[in-house]
C-alpha cells in the first residue's frame, strides 16, 4: 500500500511552528515535574513497590501454626531444583526425630544457595508437605558467597508461619475416626 504524503504548506516548511510546539511540550513536562510533582521515578530504598501476591521471590521454609518444622526431608525439591541450589542433609537412622507428630523425620540441615537459585518455584510446586514457599523477598544481599548460602535456621526464621491446612492433622483425625467407627451391634 502506498500512502501519499500531503505536501507541506509554506508555514509547516518554515519549521518554526514545530519548534514552538516542541518547546511547549517540553516546558509543560518540566513544569509538571517541578511544580506538580508528577514524577515517574520511584526513589527506591525509601519508596518500595507493592509486591504482588503471586510474586516469586526467595524460597524459604515455613513452620506450621504450632511452630513445628513442616519439612519432612523427602528431598523432592532437591531433586527437582534445576540449578541445584538446594542441598538437604537427611537426619539418618540415628538422627534427631521430627518435632511434630505424624512425621518420620525432619532435615538435619537444609541449605539453599541464593546465588544459584533462579526463583522458578519448582520446589514449592513439588513439595508434598507445603513446607517451602517462594516469598516476597527480592533484594538478597551478602558480603561473601558463604553468606549467600542460607541454612535451615535462617530459612525457617525468614519463612515464618504458614497458616494453611495441616494435612497430617486431618489424617490423624481421619485415622481416629476410622478406629472409633461406631459398629452397629
Amino acid at each position: 500500500m502506498i500512502v501519499n504524503r500531503k505536501p507541506l504548506t509554506f508555514w509547516e516548511r518554515l519549521y518554526l511552528p514545530a519548534i514552538v510546539g516542541g518547546l511547549k511540550v517540553t516546558l509543560k513536562h518540566a513544569y509538571a515535574t517541578l511544580f506538580e510533582r508528577k514524577v515517574v521515578t520511584m526513589e527506591y530504598p525509601e519508596q518500595k513497590w507493592a509486591v504482588p501476591p503471586d510474586y516469586r521471590g526467595a524460597p524459604y521454609l515455613v513452620k506450621d501454626q504450632e511452630g513445628h518444622t513442616k519439612c519432612v526431608s523427602c528431598q523432592l525439591c532437591e531433586f527437582v531444583c534445576p540449578p541445584k541450589a538446594i542441598r538437604i542433609t537427611p537426619p539418618g537412622t540415628a538422627g534427631q526425630p521430627a518435632d511434630r507428630t505424624n512425621a518420620e523425620k525432619m532435615p538435619a540441615e537444609f541449605e539453599i544457595n541464593m546465588l544459584r537459585c533462579i526463583f522458578c518455584g519448582f520446589c514449592q510446586e513439588v513439595c508434598p508437605e507445603e513446607a517451602i514457599f517462594l516469598q516476597k523477598d527480592y533484594s538478597l544481599v551478602g558480603s561473601s558467597r558463604a553468606e549467600m548460602i542460607y541454612n535451615k535456621e535462617k530459612l525457617l526464621a525468614l519463612g515464618g508461619t504458614h497458616a494453611g491446612v495441616q494435612k497430617w492433622k486431618l489424617k490423624l483425625e481421619e485415622a481416629h475416626a476410622q478406629e472409633n467407627f461406631p459398629v452397629k451391634p
Partner: protein
C-alpha cells in the same frame, strides 16, 4: 613590558579559566537535571559528601539538587584507568583532546564579561579585531575532532570525524556571514565597542533579528549540540569521534564541547543582547564603583546562563537531523539567507546615510 599588565592579565586568565571550568561542571549537572525534568524524572539527587547530612536544611537541599554530583563526576574521570587501545596513532591520539579544549578556552579571551572592576577592563584581551579572532580560533576547533576520529583507527570515530569536518566548515560560513550585518551597523570589530554601541542605541537583536537566528542555529551546529550532533550520533556511530577515548581524555572532549557552548553563549550575549549592560537603572555605563562592576559581571553571567539553558532545552526537544538535511539547511537555506540579510542591511544603511 608593563609588569602591572602581566600580573593583572595572569590573574584574569586564571579566574576566567577557573570560572569557565566550574561552569562546564555545572552545565553538565544542568543538562542532567533539565533532561530529567523534561522526561518526568528527578535526576541526580543522591551524591553527597559525608558531612552534607549534618548541615540542617541546606545539606539536604543541595543533595537533592545534585550540587555535589559534578565533584563526583570529576573525581571519577581523574581516577579512571587511562586506557589506550591497541592500533591507535599514539601522538595524534594524545594530541586530539588537547586540541579540542584549547580553542574553546581561547575564544573566551576576547569576550568582555564585565565593564570595569578596580580600574581594570573586564576582558582578557581587548582586541580591535575581536570577532575575526573568534572566528579564526573557532575554526581550529574542528581539528581536535577530526584528529580524534583519525587517530582512533576505528571506523565509527572516523565517520564521526568526517561528518564533523564537513558540518563545521559548512556552518562556519553561515555563521561568519550572519555577523556581517552587525558589523555593518556598528562599524567596529571590537567587542567592547559593540557593547558600547548597544548601550547607546539598544540591543542589536532589534536591528538584526535574522542575523541572530542564523547565528544561533549555526552555533548549535558548531558546538555539535543536538539537532546537529551528527559527529557523535550515539544511535548511528556508537559514540562518534570519542568512541575509543576513556577517562580524562574523554572528559577533555566533554570539557571542550561545553566550553564551546559557553563561549558561543557569551558571543551571542555580546553581539545581540548587549553584553554586560541592562537598558535600565543606569546599568549601561562602565562601572564607577566596585559593586556596580560586580553587578555587571553578574548580569553577563545570568544572560549567558539563560543561553546555556536554551542550548540544553533544545537538546532534549529535537530529534537529530539527517545528514543530507543538515547540509541542505546549511548551504541552501542559511547561506543565501545570510547573503540576502547582508544585502538588505547594506541597502538600508546606504539609504539612510
Amino acid at each position: 613590558m608593563d609588569w602591572n599588565f602581566i600580573i593583572f592579565s595572569a590573574v584574569k586568565i586564571a579566574v576566567v579559566i577557573g570560572v569557565v571550568q566550574g561552569m562546564v561542571a555545572y552545565a553538565v549537572l544542568a543538562e542532567r537535571k533539565i533532561s530529567a525534568w523534561i522526561q518526568d524524572r528527578v535526576g541526580p539527587n543522591r551524591t553527597a559528601p559525608p558531612f552534607a547530612k549534618h548541615i540542617p536544611v541546606l545539606g539536604r537541599l543541595l543533595t537533592r539538587l545534585g550540587m555535589f554530583q559534578p565533584l563526583a563526576d570529576g573525581l571519577k574521570f581523574m581516577f579512571k584507568e587511562d586506557f589506550t587501545p591497541a592500533g591507535v596513532r599514539k601522538i595524534y591520539f594524545f594530541l586530539a583532546p588537547a586540541i579540542a579544549v584549547i580553542p574553546a578556552m581561547l575564544t573566551v579571551a576576547v569576550i568582555p564579561f564585565g565593564s570595569v572592576l578596580g580600574g581594570q577592563k573586564m576582558v582578557i584581551a581587548d582586541l580591535n579585531v575581536g570577532i575575526l579572532y573568534t572566528f579564526g580560533i573557532v575554526s581550529l576547533g574542528v581539528y581536535g575532532i577530526v584528529l580524534a576520529g583519525y587517530a582512533a583507527n576505528s571506523k565509527f570515530p572516523f565517520l564521526g570525524g568526517i561528518r564533523s569536518s564537513a558540518q563545521m566548515i559548512s556552518y562556519e560560513i553561515s555563521m561568519g556571514l550572519s555577523v556581517i550585518p552587525v558589523l555593518l551597523i556598528v562599524g567596529n570589530l571590537n567587542l567592547g565597542q559593540i557593547i558600547g554601541w548597544q548601550a547607546q542605541h539598544g540591543w542589536l537583536i532589534l536591528y538584526a533579528p535574522l542575523a541572530f537566528v542564523i547565528f544561533l542555529v549555526a552555533s548549535f551546529a558548531e558546538t555539535n549540540r543536538l539537532p546537529f550532533d551528527l559527529p557523535e550520533a550515539e544511535t548511528e556511530l556508537v559514540g562518534g569521534y570519542h568512541t575509543e577515548y576513556g577517562s580524562m581524555k574523554f572528559a577533555l572532549f566533554f570539557l571542550g564541547e561545553y566550553s564551546n557552548m559557553i563561549a558561543s553563549s557569551g558571543m551571542m550575549v555580546t553581539l545581540f543582547f548587549g553584553g554586560w549592560t541592562l537598558p535600565f537603572w543606569g546599568l549601561d555605563h562602565p562601572a564607577a564603583t566596585l559593586v556596580s562592576g560586580i553587578i555587571h559581571i553578574l548580569i553577563f553571567l545570568v544572560k549567558m546562563a539563560a543561553f546555556i539553558v536554551l542550548f540544553i532545552w533544545v537538546r532534549w526537544m529535537f530529534p537529530r537531523f539527517r545528514y543530507d538535511q543538515l547540509m541542505d539547511l546549511g548551504w541552501r537555506r542559511f547561506l543565501p539567507l545570510a547573503l540576502v540579510n547582508i544585502l538588505i542591511t547594506a541597502i538600508i544603511l546606504w539609504m539612510r546615510a
